[in-house]
Amino acid sequence: MMLRWAWKTLIRQRGGLFGSAGGLAGAFILVIFFSAVFRGEATQIVAYLENTRPDIWVMQRGVSNMHMATSFVYDWKADKIARLPGVKRVTPIVYLNTIVHAGDQDAFSFIVGLQEGSSRAGPWALAGGRSQLHSGETVIPEVLSKLSGVGIGDSVTITDRSFKIVGLSEETYSMANSVTFVSMSDLTDILSAFGTYSYLLVDLEEGIDARGFTKTIMDEIEKVNAMTHGDFVRSDFALGMMMGGEIIFMMTVICSGLAVLILGFTSYTQVMRKRRELAIAKAVGIRNLFLYTAVVFHAMVITLLALLLTGIFAIVFFPFISTLVPQVTLVVSIGDLAGMAVVAIIVAAISALIPAYLVSRLDPATVFQV
């Protein structure tokens, strides 16, 4: 009966129910927002790697990432790898992290230098123009073009050099690392990295085991690291997530604390408003345990509703937010939502302690008061 009472009390005040759940959902949204931002960024960090998709990545020994890393490989090593049996093709790229000045926008960017005339390792989706580059030309993210107001035919500046925009790429923009393409000769010149590449993309013949071949490469070529595509992507993704790991953990704790306070306040208010009815229940002989159950039930219903609102918001609105604010990529995983659910249940259990204490202190004699 107390559960039924709790349920009916909640339903009667829909405004209060949705207000409480809304406030709580806000706190939950903040929690998953952080992990969604970092997961989105990490997803974008590996977007280039994912879409380039060679079988094996070869880089300088001691390096196992692209993001925030520096790698140099002698050009003759690329020729040597290309001659290994089983190798279909080796595509070298040169790579630099720096700022691209486009109009009034400064975008922190991966600059990828591509062999002239080659589209391998270049943009995988174009919104306009072409992807094959010559010296003095560049392909920039379409989003950057929109934000800065520069388009095909206009120029951007990288270090002290001007590049003419000949193409606009899709799926290459994020707040912390867009991908900009230039010709290899230009980037080599900027880096003064003559005779070296940054990374080698190795495509294998059909049926060759990539993992085994990484060992072959490292045995044959000294001072390089070879990783399968999957391992390399995971390594960069993990680095991207790790960079946000601490702040995600801290914001989870902080916002969970906020959620406890909001839910605690809601439960407290509910008990205080209904204390006369709870006193009546005590007066007619209902035990404290059943009253606690009603209070915890109340907290759980609000929490579940808040979780539902959070899930809906995350699934429906996060992609919409990313469209509206392209600098922000939000990616929510089922794992994040499941983690949030666990946090929410803990929050509900803790926040029910305050009203449970109040319930235990209720004096049934108050039913006689006018």
């Binding site: 001691g62 700022i99 500046t157 002290d160 070296t196 809601t266 937010i321 604010v325 600098q327």
Partner: protein, 377 residues
């Protein structure tokens, strides 16, 4: 109405306290988010100012210190030092690398310094690296439990930790400092680069001016005589770096702060809704006595603002606690919520959303029936 609003809050001190705690927590979260954002910009600015130069020389076309590649010809130093008004031009470079120990990776900005440009604030140890010595940011040292005398291995090359610094991080990344000699040893003894020309061994020059020298005039002269460089005051470069930071952090943090304010609006709305519902009879009585809707709504807004004022000191205390918590677990992050503009904007924003939240029970107030006054309690 002010008296009634205040007395209503005093009537149930426990509830008011709990409400102030909830609202204060929201204020603390917003302060933390705003402080986090300002902290990032501050770190970017401090990175420039901590180099303690009167002027900073970059590669032509480069207008940032962080997150860019800048490479100046080696002979630029001599040319710059020959200009009237210039006392010294100290070389500076940095590279980004990933430090890995026991499977855990951390990106690091490795600053390469000579006679100037090292860390300004030391926690312990030596502030000037020599040879194969390295100075680490305290967050990096904490994370890997490194102390003075411990080895710090990158690319199979071993540096020795001689100092722990603070105020030496930016863009979520801790700094480390080595000397040019150490860097050259690193290049030569490892595979970090096929040859030295690959690395920007000279990225920037930190220029000391003679007392009384005109900064702008000297900067112009340097740019004229050394056309392959640009010259900036630390203020200009700091502003440039902060703008870069705003470019990529601004939208995200703006969204997060907005969500924070929405939570505040909902909490206030929830509180005031509960308040109005519990006092519906009172509102009916007040209407019967001749109080208009406008006066009643004014009273509710007053109550919400009074609640906010009580919650602000609670929020400040919680904000302090939150910042401490973050600084303990993530010392690379800086939370500067106490910046006057940050604090003021948070309070004003909270006030605006508190007023909006107070209007949530508007409908209930409008529908409060004066006939309720005739009902038994």
């Amino acid at each position: 109405m002010f008296l009634l609003a205040w007395r209503q809050l005093c009537l149930d001190p426990a509830r008011t306290f709990l409400t102030a705690l909830a609202l204060g927590a929201v204020i603390a979260v917003v302060l933390t988010l705003e402080g986090f954002e300002q902290g990032q910009y501050y770190q970017l600015a401090r990175t420039v100012f901590n180099r303690q130069a009167d002027l900073i020389v970059t590669q032509a076309g480069v207008s940032n210190l962080m997150a860019v590649r800048s490479s100046i010809p080696q002979l630029s130093r001599e040319k710059v030092e020959s200009i009237a008004g210039v006392v010294n031009a100290h070389p500076l470079a940095w590279i980004s690398l990933i430090y890995e120990k026991e499977g855990e990776k951390t990106p690091v900005f490795l600053f390469v310094v000579d006679t100037k440009g090292g860390p300004v604030h030391m926690v312990r140890g030596n502030g000037i690296p020599k040879g194969k010595e390295i100075i680490l940011n305290d967050s990096l040292a904490k994370k890997y439990h490194l102390n003075i005398g411990d080895p710090f291995v990158v690319f199979d090359f071993e540096f020795t930790v001689v100092g722990i610094s603070k105020d030496s991080a930016a863009l979520f990344t801790p700094f480390a400092f080595v000397n040019f000699d150490g860097m050259i040893d690193l290049f030569i003894e490892t595979d970090i680069a096929p040859d030295l020309t690959t690395f920007p061994m000279l990225s920037f020059l930190l220029v000391d001016l003679e007392p009384g020298a005109q900064r702008e005039a000297v900067a112009e002269e340097i740019e004229r005589r050394v056309p392959e460089v640009d010259v900036f005051t630390p203020g200009q470069l700091a502003e440039s770096d902060m703008n870069m930071g705003r470019g990529f952090l601004g939208p995200v943090m703006g969204l997060l702060v907005f969500v924070g304010y929405i939570i505040g609006l909902l909490v206030v709305g929830l509180v005031m809704y509960a308040e109005v519902r519990s006092r519906l009879r009172n509102f009916g009585v007040l209407k019967a006595l001749g109080f208009t809707h406008v006066r009643l709504i004014y009273g509710i807004i007053l109550q919400a603002l009074l609640l906010l004022m009580i919650s602000i000191p609670v929020g400040v205390i919680l904000g302090l606690g939150t910042a401490s918590f973050i600084h303990t677990f993530g010392p690379v992050y800086l939370i500067r919520w106490y910046e006057p503009t940050t604090f003021l904007s948070t309070i004003l924003g909270s006030g605006f959303f508190a007023i909006l939240g107070a209007l949530i029970p508007l409908r209930s107030i409008r529908r409060a029936d004066p006939m309720l006054a005739f009902q038994g309690e």
